[in-house]
């Protein structure tokens, strides 16, 4: 594998947790809910996902199936994020509280809750939570046949990734199709653009907002699990997610609320995150490399706010609560 190939391969791997986080948040924001709690939901997803796989193995012992472990981890992570998003939805949609404040609270709450669950698991199981190598391979190696993986260049470029890379891309593409092509997707976008319009057209605004926010939160949380189970090596550590959730929020803006663009955006951000390992220039300190994603985020924010295209704007009602009888 040459250096470039390795860079791309690692960029995709590192970008995948971001992709889940971003795509979930896109769905949420498309209904007008700005959920800043992505970091918190990803934390909960990470802790619960690892916990799900860990306790499943403890219960099943030698017979634990890798496929089932992956499934349980996804489910647990999804439920963790969905639970966080449900709290957020109740507060912002039903009680119409300020979305920014609620989202920030969820970020703090989720981070704390995730840390608590992770640390609890660690201390009660003897100071170390990890799953066996047998199960790890289900999370970290490619599910595709060896024949495909061994094709030169194309193999590592396309077929050697873990299962979550393919799952993430699939979800992004499906969501893109859903938002653009389906009737329900059109209604969902209408809710985010102008809830009063959607409401007067007979669309159930509350239901769309709840469903999209909860589903989006769940998808974002899977990203947290993917981070712990692939990049962090299936081990709970104190550092947790290191701001992946915040990057995801920025990436939503970067990809202009388009799930398919999020695929490319996440690979780019993934590359920026590991550049210090792959493209080391002695005169640039590590720290500069590590802040690259954040610098790019700032630059992107500057450019997106300068852009004037009417089609490339955030959903018009993003961040606003909706009340039908508002006068």
């Amino acid at each position: 594998m040459n250096a470039l190939l390795l860079l791309i391969y690692n960029a995709v791997l590192n970008g995948t947790p971001l992709l889940f986080g971003t795509v979930g948040e896109v769905l949420t924001e498309k209904t007008g809910n700005l959920n800043l709690g992505v970091e918190g939901m990803m934390y909960m997803g990470g802790a619960l996902g690892l916990g799900g796989a860990f306790y499943y193995e403890m219960f099943a012992g030698q017979n634990a199936s890798g496929f089932l472990a992956v499934l349980i981890a996804i489910l647990c992570a999804f439920l963790g994020g969905a639970f966080g998003a449900l709290i957020y939805s109740f507060i912002t949609i039903t009680l119409r509280a300020n979305q920014n404040v609620t989202g920030l609270a969820l970020a703090i709450f989720g981070t704390g809750a995730g840390q608590f669950i992770g640390e609890y698991m660690r201390t009660t199981s003897g100071g170390y939570v990890a799953i066996s190598n047998h199960l790890k391979s289900a999370f970290m190696t490619s599910p595709l046949p060896a024949a495909l993986q061994n094709i030169p260049v194309l193999g590592p470029l396309l077929f050697q990734y873990n299962i979550f890379v393919y799952l993430g891309i699939m979800i992004a593409v499906l969501m893109g199709l859903y938002l653009r092509r389906s009737r329900s997707g059109l209604y969902l976008r209408a809710v985010g653009e102008s809830p009063s319009t959607a409401d007067s057209a007979g669309i159930n605004v509350t239901r769309y907002k709840y469903l999209a926010t909860i589903l989006g939160g769940g998808i974002s949380a899977i990203g947290g699990m993917v981070y712990i189970m692939t990049i962090a090596g299936c081990v709970w550590n104190h550092e947790g997610l290191a701001g992946e959730g915040w990057l995801a929020v920025a990436l939503v803006i970067f990809c202009l609320w388009r799930p398919v663009s999020a695929i490319f955006g996440s690979i780019l951000f993934g590359a920026l995150m590991i550049l210090y390992l792959r493209l080391q220039l002695p005169f640039i300190p590590d720290q500069i490399y590590k802040i690259l994603p954040y610098i790019v985020t700032v630059i992107v924010l500057i450019f997106t706010s300068m852009r004037n295209s009417k089609d490339k704007q955030p959903p018009a009602s993003l961040g606003l609560a909706y009340f039908r009888e508002d006068r």
Binding site: A190, S194, A201
Partner: protein, 515 residues
């Protein structure tokens, strides 16, 4: 058995907190008939119709559709009963196409079949003569096109009872005529139509019946053929009101503002004002007509020093002085001090000029806070002014310290206009000063303008209602796409001529001399 009414309302009551918006209202509507719903601001017209459209739910009373009692709990229920409402503020998604907007909320297959929708939209469009492009994005549309989309949206759902909330407020006379043609065609088609409007001549021209509400109560229904504007106004206000605007000839008009070749660009470099030249005289009212967004706002703001001027000059001659001063490049504060006042009533009334969270006194202070010495503000004078404005313009507020945000729209406007007039300017600019105000208050404002004119003030009045412009102003300047398409004598010009100028540049450039 006799045929049923399309809609029958029985003892409908709706309260918002302590305010009774609708008090036991009875109303009937038949097929093949156009009913005008008339009433002052806050008389509960829109509230009543919103209950038919499923936006609000009545606290008491009964709604019968086709003779059967129904419960309309959501807009979807309203559609199911064949009721469609076209709201005053369009309910459209800007980034969607016409077809996508029309398809919103309809049941159907999971895949969005844009072609099939476009075909059906075309069909309805041809039937009533709309002519809309199903694939055009809403943000590229004119106001009239947006309204057409709204109407098609309602018809697409198979509505046979249509409610239009102030549909003509934003249309040119030609567009209004076209809309009325469409409404008459729909009436002939057997549809029942309710139209809410403030404009009496439209009521007389279009409707079969007129129902009048006053302060949330139902006053009565009359046949249009058996009534006249004066009688309707009296019903609406509850006492006799004179409907004539007193327009004395300008006395000794002197040039106050001379504007030469004024050109302004917006942030994207698009020309908002293009080589605008005119003279505003002290002692006359200069009306400015034009379709919304033709540069009215930019014109007033550039005179007030709030909008950057690309080229051109604005010469201002103070009272008694014989030398003009250049206003371009001066800060707004100096322009204000020179006596150029602006009362701009934007679409959201609290957006410019007033602070919503403050009371009347606080808002009066925004004008005078610089006068005081030391660190403390003087509350006494603004308080007296607030009381005076409240008295003169009959502002309904519990106290002058009550936050203006919580006053009704009309009252907010009175505070704004009252304050500007009180600063005794030499040039008074007002935009949409009566937007959304009822007849009674509107006439109070017109009279205030005329009073200022007689004091020798140069009044610049940007208005929407052409009938009023023709009655109130001495001269009318028509803007079209940022250019002056004509300056006409308001006493001799017809509404149609002004309407044509509004849509076409170069309809007649000569400056008709006043008087």
């Amino acid at each position: 058995m006799e045929s049923f009414h399309a809609i029958e309302l029985r003892h409908i009551t709706k309260r918002f907190g302590k305010v009774v918006a609708n008090d036991s209202i009875d109303l009937t509507l038949d097929r093949g008939e156009i009913l005008s719903l008339l009433g002052e601001n806050g008389s509960g017209k829109t509230t009543l119709m919103n209950m038919l459209a499923g936006i609000y739910f009545p606290d008491e009373g009964e709604i019968l559709v086709g003779g059967k009692p129904v419960s309309i709990r959501s807009p979807k229920d309203a559609f199911d009963h064949g009721i469609g409402m076209i709201h005053q503020h369009f309910k459209l998604v800007n980034v969607f196409t016409a077809a996508e907007n029309i398809a919103l909320g309809l049941s159907g297959g999971g895949k969005l079949d844009r072609k099939a929708i476009a075909v059906k939209v075309q069909e309805i469009s041809d039937r009533y003569g709309f002519g809309i492009d199903p694939n055009k994005k809403v943000y590229d549309m004119s106001v009239s096109e947006k309204q057409t989309v709204e109407i098609v949206k309602v018809l697409y759902r198979g509505a046979d009872i249509l409610i239009l909330d102030e549909p003509t407020a934003v249309l040119t006379p030609q567009e209004t005529d076209r809309l009325f043609g469409i409404l008459r065609a729909m009436k002939a088609d057997g549809k029942a139509i309710v139209i809410i409007t403030h404009k009496l001549h439209e009521v007389m021209a279009l409707s079969d019946k007129v129902a009048v509400l006053r302060k949330g109560k139902y006053i009565g229904t009359v046949k249009t053929s058996e009534t006249n504007p004066q009688a309707l106004t009296d019903m609406m206000v509850g006492r006799s009101v004179t409907l004539n605007i007193d327009r004395p000839m300008p006395v000794d008009p002197t040039p106050r503002l001379e504007i030469q070749g004024l050109t302004c660009l917006d942030a994207e470099g698009v020309k908002k004002l293009d080589n605008v030249s005119f003279t505003a005289m002290g002692g006359e009212i200069l009306g400015i007509a034009g379709i919304a967004g033709s540069g009215q706002r930019e014109l007033l703001e550039s005179i007030a020093g709030l909008y950057p001027v690309a080229s051109g000059s604005i010469h201002y001659t103070p009272v008694g002085a014989d030398k003009a001063v250049e206003l371009v490049g001066k800060p707004p504060m100096e322009i204000k001090k020179a006596g150029v006042a602006m009362a701009f009533v934007p679409e959201d009334r609290l957006g410019m000029g007033l602070v919503g969270g403050m009371g009347m006194t606080g808002n009066m202070m925004l004008r005078s806070w610089r006068k005081g010495k030391g660190v403390f503000v003087n509350r006494k004078d603004p308080n007296a002014l607030a009381l005076e404005v409240k008295e003169r313009l009959e502002v309904v507020t519990p106290s002058v310290d009550f936050p203006v945000r919580r006053l009704s729209g009309g009252n907010v406007q009175k505070v704004l206009v009252g304050r500007e007039i009180a600063s005794s300017p030499t040039v008074l600019m007002s935009a949409y000063a009566v937007r959304g105000l009822d007849i009674n208050t509107s006439y109070t404002i017109y009279n205030l303008m005329t009073e200022q004119k007689m004091k020798g003030v140069a009044v610049i009045y940007v208005g929407e209602d052409l009938d009023v412009l023709l009655e109130l102003c001495d001269r009318i300047l028509v803007l079209c796409g940022g250019q002056v398409s004509g300056i006409v004598d308001a006493r001799t010009v017809t509404k149609e001529e002004v309407g044509l100028l509004m849509t076409r540049v170069g309809g007649g450039k000569e400056d008709v001399p006043h008087a």
